[in-house]
Symmetry: C2
Subunit: 884 residues, 2 copies
């Protein structure tokens, strides 16, 4: 950016009439809009002619106490001449007037943050001339009064606090009241003419100055107003939030006005070069005759399908057909276009890449590759991986009515209806009876796993998008709305109240996990259909990507789903979920209550065959692919009931005094369980637990091997923070392996590694890697500890943080590359410096987030692991990362 | 270390007779003991002659399948000749026998971890010769049977599981039973002679080999046994725990035996060159005539004061006097010596730096500087800073009887007696009545502050050395025993049971905060007396140290104490404690219950003048010195009562429904409060709180300034993890400053900085430092998050971690330099890279830990801050760091 523009330097760029001084690449100099207009004009698209004042001028303006470079005025004047030539009118000439718009245009779009002046170049004399030329008096007075109103606001500073105090709107209301009408459209030509006079009076009264009659004065006033709006409050805040440098400045686009509302040979419309909802190769859009652009969107009149234009405005339509094809070919992507027909002549106002549904994105990608329009890589790069999510879950029928009770956090996508239940037990019982249920809880805990599994969807009043409910639900591919604070849940009466409605146990409710909506009754759903395009795109992604994509799965069922979605192994098999199902929880509790090691070992003996069976199932499902098994992680108190009723039940079931259970619960209580006695700390203090798990893993591998199925167990020690934690436990695992495998007589390849989720582990990664075969970054916990955020509590301040722009994104959903990412890089680099062959992956929620997946690719990880339903998203993101 | 010893390389080092091949510097080659003996001999101290086989030989031994280097044998033989010459006896010569000991000696002491053989060189014929020479038959048989017993165990591998299964001891017991005696000393010469035969039979039976008659064979067997013991199980575990490399190896010392138990012209004793308890310059020690070294320590006979030797063994005493003076001069420190007189001749067995009390250490330091023996720096370097702690707190009269009920963790030093109370309220009420009370709680919370302040000491059943109780107590300089798990506290009945005793409210108990002992009744205490030596040493420290030492203090009283101890400002003034006292808690609770910002502001209005008063007091106490004030840190739920009874009381006091309070408590509940809605997260979501605090600080500064007292407020934003948290809040503080100081009309210097306690803050320190004036590492929380350890819960596994050597030290007491230290370094370096003038300190518990203080000096911090009573310790450590 030049601080000082030389006297002769070019600072105004013409576009129009099939020519342009600049092109689409010059976004930095011309802003996004200016570059776009230049590009369209260059390729022969009819755009209303105009010129762009460069961003350098804006910079100069701010560096020189709001003065312009000397050369600017003459360049503007000469370019104005070119515009007049192209459009066949003259700026300020009552005989053949040319009106222009003045708009901002920064490098990146800052929608609505800066100022715009339309219809510029009018005064009383020119209005009369325009009436003579157009023969449309009402149109001209309407345009004129609009211009004064905008100019008064934007340039002359008549900014009301609200509509009620807006003097211009007050004047309109007064005329309407006098005339007994309510719609602006009912104002007559005379009314509007009167308003023009009133408006000019308002300007004089409010500013002490007359409304400027000189079109050139109007132009410079507007140009400066746009420059000034670059440093308006809204714009500054927006740039702060979006990390846009304040010294970029904005360009100013001065462009001829064209009107779609001058008569029946005029029209305005928007269209897509392909169908944005299905992707079908079909021109798709709407238009209105004798209307302004905003009318199409506003919904006052119902627009016509664009195909109808073929008959109504045949010349313009033929041109439009040629143009949309040209634009798609030029930009090599589906375009979203805006056009205006003025007196039978077609003008293109905008073209941009069209937004599309996930299904459409896939079809367009596959079609365009077939058509030879784009390469596979380009096609892949254009699909938004996050969008795929919609394809993989059921959705509500968009046409069905919804009675929304409240909106919580969209914690796990999908749509589900069921009867409300308030305990995990009820959920299980009713589901066994074939009922669809929605589990409603203040928050969930590991005790609720069975009920969550049985429910169609989960609704909680507390907790964020990475609360227990959310994480488990996503893992299960189950719909979840979390942290719906509007609910008042009453467990005693089995009901919840919300915004005046009471929902009792057994009542039907529906959850939309993609929007967070909680609805009364049973909203019909549509099942997801995976098209052939999906498979095609996934196949391409597979060929392109370098990162492996694994899944987080704890059961053979989840493993099967993930395999279907293309998972290349399990990156995280949590063993604690296996401790809850059915009767095994009894053995787990027996172990916890045991007075000493031998008591614990007796209880663990009972668990051994069950765990072995679990692992056999998973090994079979993942045949040949690596399976990373995390040894027990949660604190033991999670396996004991905390509510008195359940404690009674447990005492009865196990034949132990209630007091014993209460005492144990009390003695296991923790202030900060997240930072407590869990993970490898359990392994160190109760080695017999990990020993049993290691034994179960190796015995399962041996059994599966007998059926000629290969296994690749990767045993993961969680929560390691010091070298010796790891080396001691690895030694134990190796010893058990040696025992089970008969000192090497049975050949099972296995790895022992650790989850890097404690900041300290990343800092001492070189020392740990000396004896670890792999690292898996547990970015959920790593994020919690690096930020000092408890993900179960962060709901109390994280929303405010994101709203205020303190954080751009929820770091539990998208990895914080600036902070947590540093630890991932440090851990990876130091780890590999000590062991070349170290396998490194991540297995936090971030493994399924596209931006985070790309980060992992750049850092050079070997794999990411995510919940089964996000595997396709991660695969696509991995392919995009490889392309980038 | 040479892997391969050349044929001629020297691997045996002689010492004795005023000569030595090595010296005191050669610890790596000769081991600690060997180097020490060489040094003593070199300076003319009479040590029994001997030689050292180097550590290189040990390494060779392990690298060559337990073979010796070729050259070893001849070197041993020739050195043995030198020893014979020096001592006037001959190894293996019945006519004039020489006996030797064979001991290990690694570079660093590994006490009791390796093997020793004494009295080596005996067989039947030599015994007869020795009897003839010494004329002391019983002595010889006793020495002989001991030799067989030890050699049988150490060299020949007759290692019983326990005493009962020890065949040698069984034989002794059998003789004693037959003779009807119980003490070994009652065994006659004949008994012992008989035992020698029995022992030899045992050896033959157990090993199938005869006891070796050849002294040379005995010697080599013992040398190899010492080498082997380097890799014994105990030694390996010890090295693992203490991070001693396994490849260092041990030296072997072969040294002539001397005996203090050959008759009345023999003696043995230990002595200190100065009084180890007072430091008085007075030879101090004890001896026993006709005794072995172990007899002096064992307490079977009462030893005599060493001064008595002057009359009893005048020649030896005169020599001893010369020697102890020589040793102190040579080593330039108080020595702890061991000696033996054999037949009137004095032999020195050992000299080492003498352990001493804190008082003695100070006196010796000051005296030796006066005597010109050492420099101030040397004197300072020798004082153990941790020891000073004892001087600063009351202690129990060591002569008073103690009835110890249980032992908890020594959480805050000092001694206190008082009546047991079980609630903070009771503590306050009884203290107001003039009673001494000890507050007994399961654990403490911020609600208990008032009661903790009123109590003489605090006893908790849960929580570790850095639990709330411990931290607050140390801050208050108050005695605390924490985590005393043996207590069963019953709040309903106001009593606790412990190991069969029940202590009711009102019963007297005593706490020793330095040992963790909980005692029944009232144990008399002694008040600390700070000597002139203390001031002298502190003055020297002041002149030497570079690091500033500040204090953590929240009240004017604490500030005064800290100033007296030499604190150079406040490094951490916690404002939350100010929220609890008296009526202010009502306003705090009103703020928390307020429905909206304006309600909160109304409540904060009431707090403003009170806080302002707090700060005025502190500014006055610290006149001129900087005061770092941390804005509110703890989560709001800490200010609400959690027990139903107190909630009722609050509802009554405030005139609000109980339900409102319960709901608020419920809505503020957090799963992991440590990682929750606290610190600057409160400042972001409720800026009015920080605003009030900032206003109170500046208004206080202005008021104090009117009294011509300078203030240097340093406002610290806690728990910052992202740049924008800091910049937003700093902007607010600057705005308030501007308002209070009339836009700069009043001149108050102030800084705004942050506490670096979130790992992420250290990682993005460069970005934060762009707008921060100072960093203060909050190493308590930084340790919690870097390790993922909740300090309130770590008591469940940390003791096991330290016991098993997974961690060498409690990272909450001594900074983990390997992990947390990295973040301190990263944060400091990055912070200073962005702002040269950045002031950097630490204010965690570590600020009072000597090792951590030294680390801070090395990293180049500007200051450390610690609780008032640790200020002298930190000052001394800072001086030592500067010296090092």
């Amino acid at each position: 950016m030049s601080e000082q523009l030389s006297k002769t330097e070019k600072c105004v760029y013409f576009f129009g009439d099939g020519k342009a001084d600049g092109d689409g690449q010059q976004r930095n100099l011309l802003g996004g809009k200016g570059a776009n207009l230049a590009e369209m004009s260059l390729i022969g698209i009819p755009v209303p002619a105009g010129f762009t004042i460069t961003t350098d001028v804006c910079t100069y303006y701010y560096n020189h106490e709001k003065n312009h470079p000397e050369t600017l005025e003459s360049q503007v004047v000469s370019n104005l001449r070119k515009v007049e030539e192209a459009m066949g009118g003259r700026f300020g000439d009552p005989g053949n007037p040319l009106l222009v718009s003045v708009r901002s245009g920064a490098r990146v779009s800052m929608p609505g943050m800066m100022e715009t002046v339309l219809n510029l170049g009018l005064n009383d004399r020119i209005s009369e001339g325009l009436i003579a030329k157009s023969g449309n008096e009402r149109f001209v007075w309407d345009v004129y009064r609009r211009f004064i109103q905008t100019y008064g606001d934007v340039v002359m500073g008549i900014q009301p606090e609200d509509r009620e105090h807006d003097p211009f709107e007050a004047a309109i209301d007064s005329v309407k009241a006098r005339r007994g009408i309510t719609l602006d459209t009912d104002l007559t030509s005379n009314d509007l003419r009167e308003l023009v006079d009133v408006f000019k009076d308002i300007v004089r009264d409010r500013t002490g100055r007359s409304f400027p009659e000189s079109p050139m004065e109007q132009l410079w006033g507007s140009v400066n107003a746009v420059f000034d709006s670059w440093n308006g409050h809204r714009a500054i805040v927006y740039r702060n939030i979006n990390d846009i440098p304040h010294n970029w400045g904005t360009a100013v686009n001065v462009q001829s006005m064209v009107y779609g509302n001058m008569g029946d040979d005029c029209a305005t419309g928007v269209a897509f070069t392909r169908d944005p909802s299905t992707g079908a190769k079909k021109f798709y859009g709407e238009y209105l005759v004798n209307a302004q652009g905003e009318d199409v969107v506003a919904g006052v009149r119902t627009p016509e399908p664009v195909a109808k234009m073929r008959r109504q405005l045949p010349h313009a339509y033929r041109t439009l057909e040629q143009i949309y094809k040209k634009l798609e070919l030029h930009y090599r992507d589906m375009q979203d276009i805006e056009f205006t027909v003025q007196e039978g002549e077609l003008w293109m106002l905008q073209t941009r890449t069209g937004k599309r549904t996930a299904a459409s994105a896939l079809k367009i990608a596959v079609d365009m590759v077939k058509e030879g329009l784009v390469t596979r890589e380009e096609a892949i790069a254009r699909i938004d991986p996050a969008q795929l999510d919609h394809l993989l879950h059921p959705t509500f029928d968009p046409d069905a009515p919804r009675e929304v009770l409240a909106t919580g956090l969209p914690a796990s996508p999908g749509a589900a209806s069921g009867r409300a239940v308030f305990t995990a037990d009820d959920a299980e019982t009713m589901a066994e009876d074939g009922e669809a249920v929605i589990l409603v809880r203040l928050e969930t805990s590991p005790e609720d796993i069975g009920g969550m599994n049985a429910a169609r969807g989960i609704l909680t009043a507390r907790g964020g998008q990475t609360s227990h409910a959310a994480v488990v639900a996503r893992g299960m591919g189950k719909c979840c709305v979390a942290g719906c604070g509007a609910l008042t849940i009453d467990y005693n009466s089995d009901l919840f109240a919300v915004n005046g409605t009471t929902v009792k146990a057994g009542d039907w409710i529906s959850l939309d996990g993609s929007t967070g909506e909680v609805m009364l009754g049973r909203v019909p759903t549509l099942n997801p259909k995976l098209s052939g395009n999906f498979s095609t795109v996934m196949k391409w992604a597979e060929e392109i990507k370098q990162l492996d994509v694994r899944t987080n799965a704890d059961t053979p069922q989840d493993s099967e789903i993930a395999r279907k979605f293309g998972a290349e192994g399990i990156g995280l098999c949590r063993t604690e979920h296996m401790f809850f199902e059915g009767d095994r929880i009894l053995a787990v509790r027996e172990m916890i209550l045991a007075a000493d090691e031998s008591g614990r070992r007796r209880a663990l003996e009972k668990l051994l065959p069950i765990q072995r069976g679990d692992f056999e199932g998973i090994f079979r499902a993942m045949r040949g692919y690596p399976v990373t098994i995390r040894l027990l992680d949660p604190p033991l108190h999670e396996f004991l009931p905390h509510e008195p009723e359940q404690q009674h039940e447990m005492a009865r079931q196990m034949g132990v005094p209630l007091g014993t259970i209460r005492k144990k619960v009390q003695s296991l209580h923790e202030f900060n369980p997240m930072l407590g006695h869990r993970g490898c700390r359990l392994g160190v203090t109760y080695p017999e637990i990990y020993e049993m798990q290691a034994r179960a893993i190796f015995e399962a591998a041996v059994n599966v091997r007998k059926k000629r199925i290969r296994t690749l167990p990767e045993i993961m020690i969680p929560l390691v923070g010091t070298v010796k934690e790891f080396t001691e436990l690895r030694e134990m695992v190796d010893r058990v392996a040696d025992e089970v495998l008969g000192g090497g007589r049975i050949k099972i390849d296995y790895l022992v590694g650790t989850m890097v989720e404690i900041p300290r582990a990343a800092l001492v990664a070189d020392a740990i890697a000396k004896s670890a075969d792999f690292f898996s970054f547990g970015t959920n916990d790593l994020t919690q500890m690096t930020f000092g955020f408890s993900r179960d509590d962060a709901g109390k301040f994280l929303p405010a943080y994101i709203e205020q722009g303190i954080l751009e994104q929820d770091p539990f959903l998208t990895m914080d590359q600036e902070g947590v990412g540093q630890l991932v890089i440090i851990g990876t680099e130091r780890g590999r410096s000590a062991r070349d062959s170290l396998k490194v992956g991540i297995c936090g929620e971030h493994g399924g987030d596209p931006d985070s997946v790309k980060f992992c690719h750049r850092v050079g990880l070997d794999y990411v692991s995510c919940s089964p339903y996000r595997v396709p998203i991660a695969r696509l993101a991995a392919a995009q990362a490889a392309i980038e």
